[in-house]
């Protein structure tokens, strides 16, 4: 007979109540959002009248999880960046040169003079020695520079590969070291992008690694992807180099260990610099927008102790010589060292506007990106368009809901009302689940919910149709209802499991908007099976126990 044990009844009712209460905050989206923001700020120690007023907009004890709105609904910028991980190999190899040179210098009696040779592949270090007989010895000495790697897979692997090519020594990074470097580059890039985005203080940015060398960045509320690109696309690598000479000939061929960089502000001015920097931006501990003696915007900075010492020693030894401040391959300025600069702080002047100096300070504080990035995909959605979409989507959902409700009542009468209550609970539960798991609602996601409204009644229709049929043959209403649920079960489960399979595949393989759709569709299937099989049944049983009808009109 139609029996459901008490604890099951309680559980079903509890789940429904939970669904309703956890979906509630979404009805008061703005208020709850302001409340949540205020709570977050107050936890950081801020406390103002305005914050307290915001916090009071929503009770502290009530659920306050909200559905995240996707960029297409809230407006904002989306970028997919590719990190040039191989750039880092070059730096590593450049960094090896002094070490290799010093090691071989100690063996001068066997290998003779040491020279760095030009290499087609910048990630390869080529070194020639003047004594051809000593080359094998040189290779073995350089090989000792390789360090064993600490990794799970690369047992016995070392970070360098040293071999002989004719009368040259060729040093490259090993395969395992490249993989490890890639991983480190990606993690650093993520961290630095996160810091930069946090510096400008936008809310809830998504910064995610995708695949081996890509980073997805989504920032709600930012005006345009171009703006975001400027912020995170700048490498912001700051270095201080000794100047060899200044030139106006851009075809100057830099000698070994030298670099040619253009001036940032002066057209046609180039600087020939020593390749190895004296100090670099990694050794900065602080950078602030500032003004120079003449009141022009500038950036003041401070080095860490090691950087400060190196800077101090260099300036003491080179009074009267110019040195260049280089940012991303352009010389900001090349002042002449007037005096020894101890203490490791200084100021960068150039032709900045106030905005530029502020931006540069932000970038320097956050640190340089370890490698350059290019952008493969970018999307900007204006907040007005997002709001329009929300409005249109909600109106459409309400109208759809109303149409389905009326249709169900007209078709099934009392049972239609039961199905409608279940449908309303169903929608509440979808929103509750979306809020709890922190899923993101996108425009296709709204479409998924509307589709769920249409399809959720399917399970009920299957049961009701079955009860109708069973009424023709079964003995009594109770038996017909029971058989109806029992026989419709396999169809409901099979049908929903197959649809769920598509939702799961969409989620696994889809990206962006498709994923958002898959999430709502999948959750919709779970909640609609729950409501159709358990909630409506409980309602029917409650009703049946009170009335005990002999026949039912369905």
């Amino acid at each position: 007979m139609l029996q459901i044990s008490l604890w099951k009844r309680l559980l079903i009712v509890l789940i429904c109540l939970g669904g309703v209460s956890f979906s509630m905050p979404n009805l008061f989206y703005d208020r709850v959002e302001r409340h949540n923001d205020a709570v977050a700020l107050m936890e950081q120690g801020q406390d103002t009248e305005a914050l307290r007023a915001d916090r009071a907009l929503w009770p502290d004890w009530a659920p306050s999880e909200l559905v995240n709105l996707g960029l297409d609904l809230r407006g904002g910028a989306h970028l997919l960046a590719e990190v040039h991980v191989t750039d880092v190999y070059e730096d590593r190899v450049d960094g090896l040169w002094p070490e290799v040179r010093d090691t071989l210098r100690d063996e001068r009696s066997i290998v003779g003079n040491v020279r760095r040779m030009p290499s087609d592949d910048p990630a390869v270090l080529r070194v020639a020695v003047s004594e051809p007989d000593g080359i094998d010895h040189a290779v073995s000495v350089v090989s000792e520079l390789a360090r064993p790697m600490q990794s799970l897979t690369g047992i016995g692997a070392s970070d360098l590969e040293v071999r002989r090519d004719g009368d040259e020594i060729v040093v490259t990074l090993s395969e395992a070291e490249r993989a490890a470097t890639d991983d480190r580059t990606m993690r650093q890039s993520l961290e630095i992008i996160r810091r930069r985005v946090d510096e400008v203080g936008t809310r809830e940015p998504t910064i995610m690694r995708q695949g081996t060398d890509r980073i997805l960045i989504q920032v709600p509320g930012i005006g345009s992807a171009g703006e975001l690109k400027e912020l995170i696309g700048t490498t912001a690598r700051l270095t201080f180099h000794p100047v060899v000479r200044q030139t106006s000939d851009e075809d100057t061929v830099p000698g070994p260990g030298e670099l040619l960089h253009p001036s940032m502000d002066e057209e046609g001015v180039f600087y020939l610099l020593e390749q190895s920097p004296v100090v670099s931006g990694e050794q900065l501990v602080d950078a602030q927008p500032d003004f120079d003696q003449n009141g022009r915007p500038a950036v003041s900075f401070r080095f860490n102790p090691a950087g400060g010492r190196a800077f101090g020693i260099y300036t003491a030894e080179n009074i009267g010589n110019p040195f260049a401040i280089v940012l991303d391959g352009e010389v900001i300025s090349a002042p002449v060292i007037q005096s020894h600069i101890p203490g490791g702080s200084g100021i960068i002047t150039g032709r900045f506007t106030v905005e530029e100096s502020t931006q540069l300070a932000v970038l320097l504080r956050a640190g340089a990106l370890p490698a350059e990035m290019t952008f493969l995909e970018e999307r900007t959605i204006g907040p007005e368009l997002g709001q329009d979409s929300i409005d249109a989507g909600s109106i459409a959902a309400l109208v759809a809901m109303a149409a389905v409700l009326i249709f169900m009542i007209v078709s099934y009468g009392f049972f239609g009302i039961i199905a409608n209550i279940a449908l309303a609970l169903n929608i509440a539960m979808i929103f509750a689940l979306l809020s709890l798991i922190g899923a993101t609602l996108t425009l296709p996601g709204i479409a998924g919910i509307v589709l769920t409204i249409g399809m959720a009644v399917d399970a009920n229709v299957l049961v009701f149709e079955r009860i109708r049929e069973e009424m023709k043959t079964a003995r009594g209403a109770a038996r017909a209802i029971e058989l109806g649920y029992q026989k419709a079960l396999s169809a409901i489960l099979d049908a929903n499991i197959t649809t769920f399979i598509t939702a799961a595949i969409l989620f696994a393989l889809g990206s962006g908007p498709v994923r958002g759709f898959a999430v709502t569709l999948g959750l919709g299937i779970i909640t609609s099976v729950f409501t159709a099989l358990l909630v409506t049944r409980l309602m029917v049983v409650f009703w049946f126990e009170r009335r005990r009808p002999k026949t039912i009109a369905i």
Binding site: Q3, L376, E377, V404, D494, L509, P513
Partner: protein
């Protein structure tokens, strides 16, 4: 009085003229393939790469003037179209501008975008750029791949599940119906040249989901009736099953269409193509469950001796004793 769209008992001979219905479907499939091969799909930037700029102005859209403003920039292939929507007021004039992707795999450079926006605003200062999307050819190629993979994986998984739960003939029947639905949808998109973008793939898979839902309900009834009426002709049993589930088929299709219809009219132009695909899918999916899936099963024939061994498989495994 209760609304009853379908009488309590119907005796339509669904499978009687299967040659005509299946032939009709076959012709549509062939036409769709021809349309796809000759006209192709109107791929959006997700699949082709490029930049799409959505403009909104208080002045009416003048496509020619927009084009004149952009042409001097020499951006290659530029397509401009006006967007109409019943929800727009008289001062909302929306246009979509699509610019060809550069060759080097990157999305558009911000400087180029600034130039485009500047040129357009010189023509009409009230223009606002409500969305700008740019996809490099490198990513779009991958998006195509993963989309195709998703559709193929979904079809395979469903085939496997149906085969697990029913006889293999049903699996083939369901798969035929699904391929039919997907092909017809792609055909319609190429005939009408509706923009084919990433969300349309989601719509395609939803169509697959809806259609299989419908098909499974019909199959479930067939499975039950095949056990119940062991002696009756396969044709009769299948017709009986289709008639018994007819009321549900119609009702569910109607509620779903009601919901989608409201989204189509009121949901805004951004997702209209998406919703359109789903509406078409519901219609096609309902048709195919009866006239493609069932017909295929009938032509393949089903093993009727359920008495030993396989009887378990045909039963309702999920039935509980509540």
């Amino acid at each position: 009085m209760r609304l009853k769209l379908v009488p309590d008992e119907t005796h339509f001979n669904f499978l009687g003229s299967w040659r005509i219905t299946a032939g009709f479907s076959a012709v549509l499939v062939v036409l769709s393939i021809v349309a796809f091969l000759t006209m192709g799909l109107n791929f959006g930037i997700d699949f082709r790469g490029g930049t799409s700029v959505r403009t909104e102005a208080t002045e009416p859209v003048d496509i020619g003037a927009y084009r004149d403003a952009i042409t001097p920039l020499g951006l290659g292939d530029v397509a401009i179209s006006e967007v109409f929507d019943p929800t727009y007021g008289p001062d909302e004039n929306v246009a979509l501008i699509r610019i060809q992707a550069p060759e080097d795999g990157e999305s558009i450079a911000p400087s180029v975008l600034d130039e485009v926006e500047q040129a357009l605003q010189d023509y009409d200062p009230s223009l606002e750029f409500t969305s700008v999307e740019s996809v490099g050819p490198k990513v779009s190629g991958e998006l195509v791949q993963s989309a195709l993979l998703a559709v193929a994986a979904a079809l395979a998984a469903i085939l496997f599940y149906i085969w697990l739960r029913f006889e293999w003939q049903f699996g083939i029947g369901a798969l035929t119906a699904l391929v039919h639905d997907v092909v017809l949808t792609i055909g319609l998109f190429s005939v009408l040249q509706i923009r084919f973008d990433l969300p349309i793939i989601a719509a395609l898979l939803t169509i697959v989901g809806y259609s299989i839902n419908d098909t499974v309900v019909v199959f479930d009834r067939m499975r039950e009736n095949l056990i119940k009426y062991k002696k009756r002709e396969l044709n009769d049993v299948m017709n009986l099953s289709l008639n018994e589930t007819l009321s549900r088929t119609i009702l569910t299709s109607l509620t779903t269409l009601l919901a989608l219809g409201s989204l189509f009219v009121l949901g805004g132009d951004v997702i209209r193509g998406f919703v359109f695909a789903m509406i078409w899918g519901v219609v096609v999916g309902t048709w195919s469950s009866v006239f493609v899936a069932a017909v295929t099963v009938k032509r393949l024939g089903v093993k009727r001796d359920w008495s030993k061994g396989d009887g378990e498989k045909g039963g309702t495994q999920f039935a509980t004793d509540t």
